[in-house]
């Protein structure tokens, strides 16, 4: 039985006792329009307006400010900056800055990945303006006070010590080193104890001056604010950022050698971690969507992937197994991970290899492809069901030049992927001889697959 949709216009009461606003509902394929907001100084932001929940979210991403830009002997620089920006800005020391955020229930956070540096705010509507003020203050007048630096250093060093005891982390770190070698992508985002000891205020100040510019800035916002207001805030705060971005150095694309390898790292743990993968596909490659659908079929997040079917549903060997495409700017990856009882590692990796080999030879069957496509299309609104997710998605749309109408076009690109496309992409990407696998656990406990013990 299909639900009858009620009257198309839904009236909602907006908080703060204001006038009723018309909220236009939209079909699963339609979203509110993406607005390109331009400030007088020329900065752009993409905005999606909603007035049903009185919150706003915004993200500012600085291209190339990621950990790959850390100098060789100063690894951890970008990450440290991300930890220090909320520890005091302008006239506000760490405590005062924190109190001001809390006075307005503002969430301010900073993230770093290999490629980029991002700053995000999330606030109640009445705190949005202040949130922008404080975000801008943090970017433009960071204090980098000595006690804050010492705290962040100690926290990061302590984290590194802890992470080295986590098999999943060690496996990932080792795998990246394996596939990227000496390229910056092969480094650890947090650096190491020594590099963290070498970093100081001058490094952070220089970083901020170089990387927080209008030339490499991408802005997106969503929620209960309008274009005019956003433009005003951008003008007020971002016009004074340096106009040009001058990269520190040229980061070469990673050269991933096409041979496979397997490495083991010894750790005395009850459960082994395994990371696997190989070179991926750039975001702007015409076959990206075919690869995206293929990856979902192989190890996408749902409980119905081919790898989950084999390793969990049939074998009972893992609790979870996943794979993902990671199209980093200078080296795209396809990477997956799982954890399993140590004596099962050989059998599990054997099954993994045979699945990859099979797909490399045959692609995937039509029903499998159809199911993957149906999921990716049907679940798309769930990727955008809250304001923060929307703001971050709008950043990605700009980063990868997907176009303002991407939300309307994306489903068609997914739907257009054919069995032949997938077979072609599998041949291109999934040569089992190029598979790199890292296992972390007890080698001595690994045995050839044994028969399961008798159960009551």
């Amino acid at each position: 039985m299909r639900l009858e949709t009620s009257d198309n216009a839904a009236w909602k009461t907006v908080c703060l006792g204001m006038v009723l606003l018309l909220l236009l509902p939209f079909s699963a394929q339609a979203f509110p329009p993406v607005q390109d907001v331009t400030a007088k100084s020329g900065t752009h932001a993409w905005l999606m307006e909603y007035h049903d929940v009185p919150v706003c979210a915004a993200t500012v991403t600085f291209r190339d400010g990621g950990s790959a830009s850390d100098p060789q002997d100063k690894q951890g620089r970008a990450l440290m900056v991300s930890r220090l920006l909320s520890e005091g800005a302008g006239d506000l020391d760490a405590k005062s800055f924190g109190q001001m955020l809390e006075d307005h229930a503002i969430q301010l956070s900073f993230e770093v990945d290999e490629d980029h540096f991002s700053a995000s705010i999330y606030a109640l509507r009445e705190g949005c303006e202040k949130a922008f003020d404080l975000l801008a203050l943090a970017l433009k007048q960071p204090r980098f006070d000595a006690p804050a630096i010492e705290r962040a250093r100690a926290q990061t060093q302590s984290e590194l010590v802890r992470l080295e005891q986590e098999p999943a982390y060690v496996a990932d770190r080792q795998w990246r080193k394996l596939i990227f070698g000496g390229h910056p992508y092969g480094r650890v985002m947090r650096g190491d104890k020594e590099s963290l000891d070498r970093l100081g205020k001058d490094d952070f100040t220089a970083y901020a001056r170089r990387y927080f510019t209008r030339g490499n800035m991408i802005v997106a916002a969503a929620g209960d604010l309008n274009a005019q207001t956003l433009a005003g805030w951008m003008e007020r705060h971002f016009a004074s950022l340096p106009e040009r971005f001058v990269p520190e150095s040229e980061i070469a694309p990673a050269a991933i050698a096409p041979h496979g390898e397997e490495r083991h790292v010894e750790r005395d743990v009850p459960q082994s971690a395994v990371v696997f993968g190989m070179q991926g596909i750039p975001r702007d490659d015409p076959d990206y969507y075919a690869a995206y659908v293929l990856n979902h079929a192989i190890g996408g997040g749902s409980l119905t992937s081919l790898l989950t079917e084999e390793l969990r549903e049939k074998g009972g060997m893992v609790y979870a197994v996943e794979s993902k495409l990671d199209p980093m700017l200078r080296g795209a990856l396809w990477r997956g991970a799982f954890a399993t009882r140590t004596d099962q590692v050989p059998l599990a990796t054997q099954k993994l290899r045979s699945i990859i080999a099979h797909i490399y030879q045959n692609g995937v069957a039509q029903p499998v492809l159809d199911d993957a496509k149906r999921y990716l299309v049907g679940s798309f609104p769930l990727q955008l069901d809250n304001t923060q997710k929307i703001a971050n998605f709008l950043i990605n749309m700009q980063l990868y030049h997907l176009g303002m109408d991407y939300l309307q076009k994306r489903d068609a690109w997914i739907q257009a992927v054919s069995v032949q496309d997938v077979r072609r992409v599998a041949k291109r990407l999934l040569d089992p001889a190029a598979l790199r696998i890292v296992t972390v656990g007890r080698a001595a406990a690994q045995q050839p697959p044994a028969k399961p013990k008798a159960v009551p």
Partner: protein, 472 residues
């Protein structure tokens, strides 16, 4: 409180954050309460319905909550409720193994389930047009669950693997598990929801099916649907799919109560994979359901004030001023049927002993007994509580999750909407008093997590980190 999830998409931390951070926070204006009015009803067979309209997208979050959790596990059979949750995906006569998941995925839905001490919940987030399909499948597996024997054996291996991932590979989790087992002298909250491994290994098909027959009934369930729907639209569907299922009984929950505590407990755990010590302390306290419930609102504010953010008393004193810790937090979980828990967690700075850290924490707690929060501190703590409900309303599933948790605790589904006024009336004096009355060291366990082979008095963080010996 931590929930165990069927799939790795959700973690202890995420569940805790969802449960605690989203609770008891008010919108800053009362009108918000009227905006998305929650509607409730009950079917003839006792199944409750709760509807939370949210028309941002034509999607719904369908959550079915059963009043059965880890604390209901039978003696000697810990992990049963969670195992039952896993088995729910593995076959009925109409839905063979994996078919539930495949259908949800094929229709563009996300789904999962989770178990904690009080409840087990199953959710599917999907386009509203597929709601009947979801309901049909949920009603089917509620009533007709019957996976084949080999699935029980195989899935038992899966949950043991899950235990390895969440517990055995994480010394901090292992210790936390021991803390509950120590802190609760008699109450079934002492049980591990994922289960003790030696008991998990013996759980049988008969165990699960008997458990399922006992607890999985409409009278013992609450259906919460949030999204592009109204009660008027949902009710006929609920009647059609859930109505025919025989009522069963509501879980009477005859749990053993805690006797008076007369001694503070201490635990010390050494583990080869620990490089830096960790201090944890857990107190029993009154909550929203158990004990002196009138204190709970003040306790939320109290915990937020003491250790809920970087400007909190504990963080300021321990991390920023005295540099005794690199991290500290105070978390209060008042939304549970049994005794509520307060957690204090602190990581010592390099060269600082757990003994020193603990003494400093005790000094701060003593200070908090003697002087209330300042006006600014009180305002900030209350605002944090209030704002997080607005943030929870931003998104498809958040409010459904809250409503379900409230109903599982026996509180009204719209408790979140009524909370604003209560939080607003909390005074500094009440916060002071609640802390004084509730914080009782004889109702606590203090745990030290240490590296191997060091005397406790000299336990320090590693001054230098040697290269891990076997790393290539």
């Amino acid at each position: 409180m931590g929930a165990v999830f069927r799939h790795r998409c959700c973690s202890w931390a995420a569940a805790l954050a969802l449960a605690c951070a989203g609770l008891f926070c008010t919108t800053v204006v009362d009108d918000a309460a009227a905006a998305d009015a929650i509607e409730s009803a009950t079917l003839k067979n006792g199944m409750e319905l709760v509807v939370i309209p949210n028309h941002r997208a034509p999607m719904v979050s369908h959550m079915i909550w059963y009043r059965v959790g880890g604390a209901d596990d039978l003696p000697g059979k810990s992990g049963l409720a969670h195992y039952n949750e896993h088995m729910m995906f593995l076959g009925t006569p109409a839905l063979k193994k994996g078919e539930y998941s495949r259908r949800i995925a094929r229709h563009g839905g996300n789904h999962n389930a989770f178990t904690n001490k009080d409840y087990t919940a199953y959710y599917a987030n999907i386009a509203r047009e597929h709601l009947p399909m979801v309901m049909e499948m949920e009603a089917d597996r509620m009533r007709h669950l019957s996976p084949p024997p080999e699935e029980f054996r195989r899935e038992r291996e899966v949950i043991i693997e899950e235990r390895r991932m969440r517990m055995d590979n994480k010394p901090e989790s292992l210790l936390s598990e021991q803390m509950d087992a120590t802190l609760f002298l008699n109450h079934p909250y002492r049980l591990s929801t994922i289960g003790w491994k030696h008991e998990m290994e013996t759980l049988s098909q008969d165990d699960v099916m008997a458990f399922h027959r006992r607890f999985y009934h409409p009278a013992n369930a609450v259906l919460v649907v949030a999204g592009d729907i109204t009660l008027k639209e949902l009710r006929p569907l609920a009647e059609q799919y859930y109505g025919p299922v025989p009522a069963g009984v509501k879980n009477p929950r005859a749990w053993s109560k805690e006797p008076p505590h007369r001694a503070s407990a201490r635990l010390q755990m050494r583990h080869p994979n620990v490089r830096e010590p960790l201090l944890m302390r857990r107190y029993l306290m009154s909550g929203l359901v158990d004990g002196d419930t009138s204190r709970a609102p003040a306790l939320y504010v109290w915990a937020q004030w003491l250790g809920g953010s970087k400007t909190s008393r504990f963080y300021q004193a321990l991390v920023r001023e005295k540099k005794l810790a690199t991290a500290v937090s105070v978390d209060y979980d008042g939304l549970c049927l049994g005794p509520a828990r307060l957690n204090i967690t602190a990581r010592p700075a390099a060269g600082v002993t757990l003994d020193t850290l603990e003494r400093e924490i005790d000094a701060l707690l003593e200070q908090a007994r003697n002087a209330p929060p300042s006006e600014d501190e009180l305002r900030r703590a209350k605002l944090a509580q209030k704002a997080s409900i607005v943030f929870t309303a931003d998104g498809l599933q958040g409010m459904a999750n809250l409503a379900g948790e409230f109903r599982m605790a026996g509180l009204p589904a719209d408790f979140a909407q009524r909370w604003p006024e209560t939080i607003d009336t909390v005074t500094a004096a009440q916060v002071l008093e609640a802390g004084r009355k509730e914080l009782d060291i004889t109702r606590s366990v203090t745990a030290w997590l240490l590296p191997e082979a060091q005397a406790p008095a000299a336990a320090t963080t590693a001054a230098t980190e040697a290269e891990a010996p076997h790393a290539p």
